[in-house]
Symmetry: C2
Subunit: 149 residues, 2 copies
């Protein structure tokens, strides 16, 4: 799986959320940089650092199998030559729930940092935390990435 | 205050935590990029976006005045030409508490993204969330920043 090339940070981000939705551990780890400095913070969790901690955490999360659809909104993107930063809201829709069932989960706010490597863009930092639903500010725009140079 | 120049991302980070410790709103806002794409997530909070939301949030936090010392540990730094990403643990020591009083707060894990501007390095993303104390992984190294080029 490590042979997969993401020509842009957005391609890597799309693959990240596809792997998350499908609970695909190999697909997930193929998005991450092959680097011991990778950092992952799951919502409410401790900071995980390095390939082993990050892989192990996703294996645990994925053990129950796919249960939610995820779509991201309100992206703010800042892109340099070597690093790109995307701030997004992750919106989870629990599958199998009929309308009127328990409320859907609050959105998660995520900061995703991508690194341009010899093998394309890869994720190097994923920091996610629950956003209190009541105070979430709607951002009207879906602006194109800001290119620094 | 906007004339202050930070020659490195680390200088901007030092100024950020000094301003946070002193509850210095002008000093805090001087660290941020003069950009509407700035993003700030306080521990447990919603994503704030743009100068007005970010300034207002710090004004509210600082209203009670300085109450804690802060030191950062376990920095992981990834630096490009235009963007630098620092992942740190923020350790708060509540002032006026004698030893044996209520336990100190859990560390906060923060992802700080700095942008090289014409006026030096400035903060563009600050994402902070509480790290559960029991599962915090000690990271033995305080590695020097990884320079991408």
């Amino acid at each position: 799986m490590s042979g997969r090339i993401f020509p842009t940070a957005q391609d890597a981000e799309n693959a990240f959320y596809e792997a998350l939705e499908r609970c695909d551990l190999d697909g997930m780890m193929a998005v991450w940089a092959e680097d011991e400095d990778i950092v992952c913070v799951h919502p409410g969790g401790a900071r995980l650092n390095g390939q082993d901690q990050v892989r192990e955490s996703w294996a645990r999360i994925f053990a129950a199998g796919p249960r939610a659809r995820i779509h991201t909104t309100q992206q703010v993107a800042i892109s340099g030559m070597m690093l790109a930063v995307h701030s997004v809201h992750e919106n989870f829709t629990i599958q199998g729930q009929a309308r009127g069932d328990a409320p859907q989960p609050v959105p998660v706010v995520a900061t995703n940092v991508y690194l341009r490597t010899a093998a394309g863009w890869r994720l190097i930092v994923h920091h996610a935390s629950p956003a209190p639903a009541a105070t979430t500010q709607p951002t009207p725009r879906e602006s194109p990435p800001k290119l620094l140079h």
